[in-house]
Symmetry: C2
Subunit: 687 residues, 2 copies
Amino acid sequence: MVYTIGPAGQLVLLPSGRRGAVPLGSDLLEAARSLGVELESICGGRQTCGKCQVIVEEGHFPKHGLTSTLAHLTEPDGRELAYWSKNGSVARPPAGRRLACAAHVLGDLLITIPEESQARKQIIAKAATERVIDVQPAVRQVYVEVRPAALHDNVGDWERLQAALAEQWDLTNLSIDPIILPTLQPALITHHSSLITQNLPLTITLWQDREVIRVQPGYAEGVYGLAVDIGSTTIVAHLCDLRTGAVLATQATVNPQVRYGEDLMSRVSYAMMEPQGVARLHRAVIGALNELAQKAAAEANLTPQDILELVVVGNPVMHHLFLDIDPVELGGAPFALAVSSPLDLKARDLGLKLHPAARVHVLPCIAGHVGADNVAVQLVEAIHQQEDLMLVIDVGTNAEIVLGNRERVLCASSPTGPAFEGAQITHGQRAAPGAIERVRIDPLTLEPRFKVIGCEEWIEPGPAASVLATGICGSGIIEAIAELYLVGLIGADGRFNVAQAAGLPQAAGLRYNGRAAHYVLAGANQTTSGRPIVITQADVRAIQLAKAALYAGVKLLMAHLGVSQVERIVLAGAFGSFISPLHAMILGLIPDCDLGRVIAVGNAAGDGARLALLNRGQRLEAARLARWVEHVQTATEPTFQDEFVAAMAIPHAADPFPHLEGILPRPAAGPSLRPSQRRQRGRGLGD
Amino acid sequence: MVYTIGPAGQLVLLPSGRRGAVPLGSDLLEAARSLGVELESICGGRQTCGKCQVIVEEGHFPKHGLTSTLAHLTEPDGRELAYWSKNGSVARPPAGRRLACAAHVLGDLLITIPEESQARKQIIAKAATERVIDVQPAVRQVYVEVRPAALHDNVGDWERLQAALAEQWDLTNLSIDPIILPTLQPALITHHSSLITQNLPLTITLWQDREVIRVQPGYAEGVYGLAVDIGSTTIVAHLCDLRTGAVLATQATVNPQVRYGEDLMSRVSYAMMEPQGVARLHRAVIGALNELAQKAAAEANLTPQDILELVVVGNPVMHHLFLDIDPVELGGAPFALAVSSPLDLKARDLGLKLHPAARVHVLPCIAGHVGADNVAVQLVEAIHQQEDLMLVIDVGTNAEIVLGNRERVLCASSPTGPAFEGAQITHGQRAAPGAIERVRIDPLTLEPRFKVIGCEEWIEPGPAASVLATGICGSGIIEAIAELYLVGLIGADGRFNVAQAAGLPQAAGLRYNGRAAHYVLAGANQTTSGRPIVITQADVRAIQLAKAALYAGVKLLMAHLGVSQVERIVLAGAFGSFISPLHAMILGLIPDCDLGRVIAVGNAAGDGARLALLNRGQRLEAARLARWVEHVQTATEPTFQDEFVAAMAIPHAADPFPHLEGILPRPAAGPSLRPSQRRQRGRGLGD
């Protein structure tokens, strides 16, 4: 770089519009940087990577007060021409294009920086509150040129590479993963020298600017990572391009641990009772991750060996089993975590078949029941940055509840059980094509219509449907019960209004055999099994228990914070992105709130893992959050039982829902009970 | 600890004799430390390990000017009594004994610190110059007590352990090897609380005070390491107690790589030619190390899982193959090392079956032909600290030569080939029981007598021996040829004096069939094979070539340093600890020197590895040395060929050996040749 002290050129950079005087002689990479605009560059200004391409606008631009022309830049030198010629433009740059690192300023210039040359790649967090996050991953590539070995220069290849990285990239105190040492010499030998210098070109992949984890011959491009949410039921993996932040593939699979136990407690029992239990559960999840990595890589035309980092989140039991740690202590008080802080380890130590030196980052856990998945949700929703009092509910096999704003954030877990995931429901199933996900009941005919996942149309009652239902998932059952309540087929206590059954036409759905009632949601001609899909009294009870546990947890956190109203609600988790806020509120699953401010966001934990994969700062934020957030142990709160019982009623035995005014039925289903009766009755409901 | 500001007691510590005033109330551990005397303590003053035991001398000591009595210490408290009772002294300390950490000073005291309680364990380096090295290994144990998990305390076990280590040992910024995370909770649960406090006792093993690599329940003792020299022919392993520095077991084995090639170059060729060559050579050495670890551990009643660190040295080819790096670049100029600096890695990454979190430290290499084994030799011999000009020759398949003193140290390698190890010698073999290791030839009868390894007696010529010879090793062949020269059976040019053969009695040993001569060292009745062991003309030539290469290298280094005489010589390496300096000098293997200052030290490389295993500072010293020492590339020196040719003669064609005055025969064997003739003839010798 030649800096001429003296006259300066006016430089205007589009699209940002930044402008300023830059010394004549400086190269455009430096000049743009001096105006605060960072250009992409992998090769560090060696005219190799072509990432810093800019477009020189030619002409007179009165608005900007200057005349810009290619002649206001130095001519392309041999090295730049070599780049263009290697990239299809024989011996000259394409019209208007230059490499910013090679072109030196000779006068006024108007430069457009195409999006691909802008250094700060950004991603949008798919949160309730849209946020923009810089792509600053822990793993990145740099291009270096290493001086060749010489007879009287006795240092090794690795030491000469270290010298090159220090000199060309200011990277010092680097280590190298010993497992890739054997690849260094072959990579150096591949090219005997670079195009221009006698030095040997290499592309180095770095982890946290601390450790060399890959060495590739010559100039290479491509660094990928996998963000994984290990749910008790479902494992989701996002394969990301760590340079652009783009999601290249998303794959999901059933957690194969389900074969050893449907819910968390049964897996903890399995780990405790079976001699090889922990090892089996650990191998199951690692096997599933290897398969997901394989599938996701294949979808993006890559191999698992292209994956250099894995970020993992999961609830504490999943977190421990992923690390091969016995989860038995999580099964009983004091619910001791073996490790709570974030961890960095090597994928190979866990049996993961990614790149041999691939890294794993595991987000921290908050408490024995509030894990790294919840930290990930908090990261995405950034509750700790909100003005409004925000309630985030993440429902999986357990429900995690987070309540707060930038002043203070509380969290808790509630033992909802797996009902919201469709388990323990007569025709329940997880959200998959064929599952009934939406339900409406006609208030006049009391007949149902429904939608199944994978089909846009509503299926009307009666005629044989062209799309057959396989079962009902969490969002479907929530809507079904809320609708049954709205039309009066079940009362606030959750009981089927069997008196009505006799008076209804057969098609209306409610059946009563003198002992038990159920509601027919889909007729035998509308299902794959050829048998009706029904909601039983037991199903309603299971949902009541689950929602009461959740609501009681929310109330406890509100009491801890001394508030009686929340300003925003985010529903996350596996019961479906498409849960209807209205029906959730009618059912009394969430407290009263402006319905326009209740949002369902789907798998927020997976999105949080993606943020941590793409941005190093977000990992630090996660570690800070995990220790700053206050955890409330709901199980030991003296008022939990009372809150739980009151929350059994639909929508609630005591709490008002002003935002459902005119939607909820009049309290005609029965006079409200006195507290003592409520309690007695409430207790009986669990039977 | 209770410190009373005010009156002090006089404390005298034996055996050091250190004395001084210490505040009344301070405990003896603190008090001794204040006088600069460090006591052993693993538990950190918790009256658990019993390592800080001291003996209180009772009586009046006029020499020291004080009266010392047990009454000048506080009474043993419950915790100390618990220790003594657990260790066999029911409810009271044995006569005169106290735990220094538990006894507080109340008056004047004369204390003897038994050797086992002295903190600074030391080892003697088995070098030519005896040196004392502190035992300060990279791996050590500490005892901690961790607060138990509690319902409202959400940090994990690891985080509580970190807090305990910071508080009780001032150890911060620690990481834990993720592979041992699963062992932490079970270790904590083993003891529900320690004897006295409610806290949970653990013994932690640390690597470099940076990483936790083992967690054991309660109080535990025992930390072991393995120092390994990977020779081309032989691998030697020393199992050491890292607390005391003691060598618990030494095991050696033939390097199984020999099946793929006897010498280094043939192994490099194998690696180059065979598709799986590098992997096979790597697996062979790892397999051998696993076997050595197994055997050494068994000898010390341990298991390989008790080994927490391995220190490895070897020549560059062995070094690379140990790391699974292709050594092909070491086979040709510029002899590029893939890595030269010291390396720390995890044993499991190499397939070593030691403790799952065991570490490996690999010493640095100096150049493509001067490896970590030579650095280890330099470490032991501490050439860089000597006043005298010292020459160290380490002979294996190649010879490494180091010359210098504290001002400047040069090193080089010489391609001696494996003749000194017994290879390429008709009846050669490596040093093992049954090998002829010493030879004398009667100057009058010209008959030989010899000693074999494993038997103290000299075997005389003629009668059937009770101990049979299997072959001849390096030191044997050197002595044999030197003796043949001394008695005039071979000339300075190395040729058998066949004219004598006719005139000798049959028993005298020299045989000549008209075309070739040989000397019978052991008769058919003295060998295991039933056939005579002989020295052929070709054997003499092979040794001449080897010693000439070595001597020429020495001369080059002397020329570089501008010296004509060395002051001390150390002979190290596999040709036997018992090489006779006199015979080596007669043969002209080493330059002239006071024979009293020529010492053979055996496997110095293995001893250097042991130093680096037992002392962290020695590793830093090794790293510094490897870059400070100047390497001379002998092969490219223009004078090497001339020096080589001159050194073919016995002892040398030109150099005087004043220290052999009266020992060497008169130059009657023939007139010395003129240089030009010497050169011509010298070249012919290799045929």
